[in-house]
Symmetry: D2
Subunit: 226 residues, 4 copies
């Protein structure tokens, strides 16, 4: 990842499925081309290969299972994700929590495959634990703010600052992102002022009437800063 970065999690919104998901990816690609700001997209699982083949910005998975290739019906391995065009994966999102051993396995395996990982966390203590696994980044998101209207940077700036402090203390190579309620350029700007290196967001873009416009606003927050 290059930082600052904006990570767009498609989740399972109708608005990000299929063609609309591809269109969102194209919009993100254009904003990146226009501004140089890095945008990572995390498409819905069935669309990963299709979307990754159509855009030239980094594609992450929303999740990966700690299974090797083989007889694991319904699972998604890092191996198939890499072949599908993913360069990394979110892991342990509040909506898809994972145990320690499996998270560690995915982080280590990804590293050996030159893929990147962002471990999502729900509070400062968990950010610390995640940092100890040496992912590329930790993304702290208070679950109660996810999908809401108030940005974590307004509602709970301390969690961002404290996560940055503790993560850097445990492993200075791990970057911190933040998310939950992030909607506009001010939220992004604030997140960077708090020491994070980018934001993770979903509904703010996915459910926007004009996603392209929202993307541009988000990026402005970063451009102002750098």
């Amino acid at each position: 990842m290059n930082y600052p970065v904006i990570v767009i999690n498609y989740k399972t919104y109708l608005e990000t499925a299929g063609k609309r998901g591809l269109e969102l990816a194209k919009n993100a690609e254009k904003v990146h081309a226009d501004t140089g700001v890095d945008i990572i997209i995390c498409p819905q699982m069935p669309d990963v290969s299709m979307i990754a083949s159509e855009v030239d910005i980094p594609v992450f998975a929303q999740h990966a299972d700690a299974f090797p290739p083989g007889g694991h019906t319904g699972a998604v391995t890092l191996e198939v994700l890499k072949e599908a065009g993913c360069v990394g994966t979110l892991i342990n999102h509040s909506e898809r929590r994972m145990n320690f051993a499996d998270t560690e396995h995915i982080v280590s395996l990804a590293r050996s495959m030159n893929m990147e990982t962002i471990i999502c966390t729900n509070n400062t203590a968990v950010s610390a634990a995640a940092a100890a696994l040496s992912p590329d980044a930790v993304a702290v998101e208070p679950p109660e703010l996810i999908g809401g209207d108030i940005s974590v940077t307004t509602a709970d700036p301390e969690i961002v600052k404290e996560s940055v402090e503790i993560v850097k203390k445990i492993n200075p190579n791990v970057e911190v992102l933040c998310g939950a309620g992030v909607k506009n350029g001010n939220d992004v700007l604030k997140s960077i002022e708090l020491g994070s290196r980018g934001v993770l967001l979903a509904s703010g873009v996915a459910k926007a009437k004009e996603p392209a416009k929202v993307l541009n606003e988000l990026v402005e927050g970063i451009i102002k800063k750098i």
Copy 2:
């Protein structure tokens, strides 16, 4: 579904990922075109949309989560699967078991969306329970034979016969498929003689040196019969 049917579960084999998965789909499409025998493919999740757009045979998911569209990171909804080109889904595979309520939800929701469901089961009693949910089909597979060298039709023909009997007693509209260890046309033939309407297989095709050849052999079993 048209019966008899051959369902090919890609699982998470390296041999079915990406391009090789697409090639397998093309082979299945060709065998169907040549013989008229119905073949359903269940690609790896990240490839579903990509493969469904390239072939003209039915594509099923390997699994679907009982979540509505929305904030469910890492999940796969029926809605996105339909948009990705799936016409149905396996559910409750031995490698991805699901609880009663979620299975019932997926079966009912699929029905309302004109999608089809195959509930996988591990024994006769579970086949009966699955039939009571009125899926399109029940696929019985003794877990200890999955991925092995001996076909269920040889190792445990009774489980197929008994599943057919009890499923038909509970709901005559539900068809029975069988799987586990199925490798060739004789196994398919035998499965149909036992009352099933098709087979579910994975490694037999996925790990074959010449998948196209194996597909042809499987279909011969059906052609002999009909």
Copy 3:
């Protein structure tokens, strides 16, 4: 089980832990002794052995795991439950759902150990599926009514009637109980009029100021009927 029956699920309420749980058990024992109406109690897991040794009414577990005795830290097997004094178990409660294969395993294993099972279900279709596994009883509880103030017998009497019909059609030996919001004797009476053979309840007793009084009222509903 003897029917009609009142099943009291302690869940994890503070009010049913330890000594208060034992006191509730003693109250249930007294009401049974006074009236002859059968009451089953399902204590909190750590108290099962302690409570079962102190009362002379049937004790069920709230849940059992589909593991054999052995290396399964944190699990609860039917074997240890039997030794602890349980004569049966609830299974697949809406708050602890279980997959088909594991539920079937517990029901079959319990039968072979002369223990009884009540499969909890969330709707009519799932009641049908559960009946196909031949437990002793199916307890239908609409999840949205659990813990609420309106009894299933008032809010959704159809689900009880329909569950009775379909369960009896699939397996006449399986009895139907109902639950969710059940609070007093009228609810019990109504449930029996709808064809169920008893009720499953939790907060109505557990959180009552005077549990003994509530137990007496519940039993009155049954006594009126028989």
Copy 4:
């Protein structure tokens, strides 16, 4: 906890259920009385209250669920465990893994309730992550050695040394225990020489013909050292 400590995990062995579990607890109590060495027992869940009321050595749970008291059928809360006489709990055992957020919740809640926690881990990286959550101790156990005949201290001494180093670096207040294959006093002695403060064992005691004798041998390893 006082260190060095021997933690006996009853798991779900038939040999530790009910009366035999109580007898094992009595044996552990006697060895402690005779030698002063601390022994913690982790009974099977249904027996926790019964056993805790009969012995005067610390009782831990094998697991606790991250639920508050309330409507959580089949779950085990810290609150009921405390009332049942537990002074702490194992968490995240390889046979009952838990996600980050829930583990952190249990560790924090236990601290606020004056209960102790031991987070089980499967490798050095996970030991580091666990230490970041500030439990009382981390118990490292390579899963492939659990239940086997070769002690971790012989098969993989590095994992113990490295876990001690990294845990102490992240949080010097957290102690390290080790387990898997531990069977006798030499294994205990070796574990302490490697920097751990005690052992976690199960089958070595639970399945022994003479558990009391094995307990005495284990303690000798500690006495030699101190």
